[in-house]
């Protein structure tokens, strides 16, 4: 851990671009969409300045961006692309293709609300709507986590052969500048060796066929293999996160980052940048005598069931902050958390707060108000309602 980090003040998007450069990615498929565009702009700048040796494919749609990335990854190259909202939705078909072909692609998705009405601001529904595509999902809280997340994701993905989506918040991270500690290239190279593909299309003496039709007799087994890979990925994620911590001083060995959970009455649980606000609010609330904790879900897929159970066992309540919504049901993280806890014996009060949809500001006073509400409910011992549209103009 005795290395000298390179400190740079960069936006979340630039942090992602630097990580792509440092990971020695070989092929990048680029298609612009707000607020992702500055990632591919920065990568193009690296190429233009001779700082990175990357094959840059300026495709004609996000669907083709993912298709080209899949082609490149299947051929054996380390491949990258980035997108947001509508672009991610357009990619949907190819997301299945990437995971089904077991390609370790890493993609950055900048969380943006789905239209209509048009919105370019932060909202997690776009990435969470892709949860069943077989991709792993890493949610970054700040620019540093975007950088670290991309580097770690390549290492994890290439071990389990499952693609990973690194998710950051529109504008809140993507366009906001912050200090990011970058790792010198030679140390990244030590951490992340060149890719050893599961298969390649370049062995011409032993040709293969990838992704052919599978009859009902075989399809089922392939799905099971992918499910098993996700299950195994949990250990790999923890191992790689620990190794990252040992090498570079920032530990990612837990899939849920926690703080003040041990003696807390209740915890806030959420994903992405809004947990940065919560982190600050928790410190303030603690100084005011509230017994609150903090649980940030870093990896949404594979879902850290076991870690969640541990947290749930020690607290009386969980306030889930969902910057997303599954229509006809409830917040997606809330839904997942309840499902994961069913039958485990850990039954804290869980309430779902729908916050910040479409980039609605979510600030420290909001966290305080939610803490107030949660405290009241725990004292009462029961919920008034499960889902609270917190910001709604009433």
């Amino acid at each position: 851990m005795d290395y000298k980090p390179i400190r740079k003040v960069v936006s979340g998007n630039y942090a992602a671009a630097y990580a792509v450069k440092h990971a020695r990615v070989q092929v990048v498929a680029a298609y612009p969409i707000t607020p992702q565009t500055s990632i591919i702009e920065k990568i193009a700048e690296f190429i233009a300045n001779g700082e990175a040796d990357i094959q840059y494919v300026p495709v004609e749609s996000e669907h083709s961006a993912m298709a080209a990335t899949i082609g490149a990854s299947a051929t054996g190259a380390r491949a990258f692309t980035a997108t947001a909202a509508q672009g991610l939705a357009l990619m949907h078909e190819m997301l299945h293709w990437a995971s089904g072909s077991r390609l370790p692609i890493v993609m950055v998705d900048v969380n943006r609300a789905m239209a209509p009405p048009w919105s370019v601001w932060d909202d997690q529904t776009d990435s969470l709507a892709q949860r069943d595509t077989g991709w792993m999902q890493f949610y970054a809280e700040n620019n540093q986590e975007v950088y670290d997340g991309v580097l770690m994701s390549y290492k994890v993905a290439e071990q389990v052969n499952v693609p990973i989506m690194v998710v950051e918040s529109a504008f809140i991270l993507s366009h906001t500048y912050d200090v990011v500690e970058m790792i010198p290239q030679e140390l990244v190279d030590e951490f992340l060796p060149p890719r050893k593909p599961l298969y390649t299309l370049t062995d011409f003496d032993n040709p293969i066929s990838v992704g052919a039709l599978a009859t009902p007799n075989d399809y089922y087994e392939f799905r099971y293999k992918l499910a098993k890979a996700h299950e195994e990925a949990k250990e790999v994620i923890k191992k790689v996160g620990r190794e990252f911590g040992e090498r570079f001083g920032r530990d990612y060995s837990s899939m849920i980052e926690t703080d003040h959970v041990d003696d807390a009455d209740f915890v806030f649980m959420g994903m992405g940048s809004l947990m940065g606000t919560v982190k600050q609010a928790v410190d303030i609330l603690r100084s005011e005598g509230y017994k609150v904790g903090y649980a940030k879900v870093r990896w949404f897929r594979p879902f850290p069931k076991e870690e969640l159970k541990e947290i749930a066992e020690s607290v009386k309540g969980i306030a889930v902050l969902d910057r997303n919504f599954s229509f006809g049901q409830e917040g997606i993280l809330f839904n997942e958390a309840k499902g994961a806890l069913y039958g485990t014996g850990a039954e804290p009060l869980i309430k779902d707060y729908i916050v910040g949809l479409g980039g609605r500001d979510f600030t420290v006073p909001d966290v305080k108000a939610i803490a107030e509400d949660m405290k009241r409910l725990i004292e009462k011992g029961e919920l008034d309602r499960e889902v609270d549209w917190y910001h709604l103009k009433r």
């Binding site: 072909s101 390609l103 052969n161 032993n206 293969i208 990838v210 992704g211 052919a212 992918l226």
Partner: protein
């Protein structure tokens, strides 16, 4: 008559695929479709008259399977394991050395 060129492949495919499951639906043996004997699709079968054949190989060129190969004397041979009986060879043969006859099973 010469042996089918696919015979060795069939044995290889059978052996290698006995209990093999690869992630990502990868078929690792090229040309392994030879295990699938499509000759059973046939209704009409090509009948070959060696005396009329001028060895122009048009039948060989146009066979979509391909199920026509050459014997020691370089005359075409029909691999009835795979021939689906489409009749292109008979239609293209300039000397009518191939005729399609109803197959009795």
């Amino acid at each position: 008559m010469a042996e089918s060129p696919f015979k060795a492949d069939i044995e290889r495919v059978g052996k290698e695929y006995s209990e093999k499951m690869t992630p990502g639906a990868i078929a690792t043996i090229p040309g392994s479709s030879v295990i699938n004997k499509t000759g059973s699709w046939r209704v009409f079968m090509p009948e070959f008259n060696r005396d009329k054949c001028v060895r122009c190989y048009l039948c060989y060129i146009y066979c979509p399977e391909p199920a026509i190969y050459l014997d020691e004397e370089n005359f075409p041979v029909f691999d009835y394991d795979y021939c689906k009986g489409c009749g292109i060879c008979a239609n293209e043969c300039p000397t009518d050395a191939i005729i399609m006859v109803r197959e009795s099973k």
